[in-house]
Point group: C2
Chain length 106, copies 2
DNA sequence: TCACAATACCTCGTGTTACGATGTATTCCG
DNA sequence: CGGAATACATCGTAACACGAGGTATTGTGA
């Protein structure tokens, strides 16, 4: 997918990936892969950004001797998803603008 | 609209705004306004970028003593729009991922 | 005539951001 | 013992939207 198009969707997707249950970095990447691919460096940047914005909270645990940071979505994070749903109508309107045939011909 | 979400749509919208007939900067902004707002500095950056990418050509004319630069979409520009239409399915898939209810509940 | 909006173009600096490259450390498999 | 997978993190870079500011002309109203 076009990188610029991804920009607006990545944050939302990460929030969506944890909204039905806490998750951690590596798993988030795996879960998102069928829909949108992203690198580890990108994800950890996003997770830090979302944490700073109070859209998620972090809980560090140990799993099989390896560090694991579980991310939990907050009220603000859920609101961000709701806001995206509202913006979806604008996106649809743009899609129609882009795909509409020449008014002179139809 | 969220600025990151705009990023992926602006280029496409500018191309869509000239695809049915050559247009110029000021008019493009007016035509796009109902769908997506953008500043002049943003538009001229985009127009230059699209010209460099051979997605449009420029023709300078004089209109009522004022300079006017008409932009014309190229084959490559039209292909960019077609590519967006193909990417639309991916966007829909992401939308469903974001809006789907918790699998455990539905 | 003077001020100001509208038309129409352009440049510069800044902050945000995705990502490749790179690094650390552990477990698992052969 | 080596390499893949798991799991985290930082740094530098390039792309980009936009506000602020600039140039120049044509209306418009007091």
């Amino acid at each position: 997918m076009d990188i610029q198009l991804k920009r607006g969707l990545l944050d939302i997707c990460v929030l969506a990936a944890i909204k039905d249950g806490d998750s951690y970095g590596y798993k988030i990447i795996r879960d998102m892969k069928p829909y949108i691919a992203l690198s580890e460096s990108t994800l950890y940047t996003i997770l830090k950004r979302l944490e700073m914005a109070d859209m998620l909270t972090v809980r560090t645990t140990e799993h099989d001797g390896r560090l694991r940071k579980y991310y939990h979505i907050t009220k603000k994070g859920l609101q961000r998803i709701e806001n995206f749903k509202r913006e979806w109508n604008e996106i649809l309107s743009i899609y129609r603008f882009v795909t509409k045939e020449d008014a002179k011909n139809g």
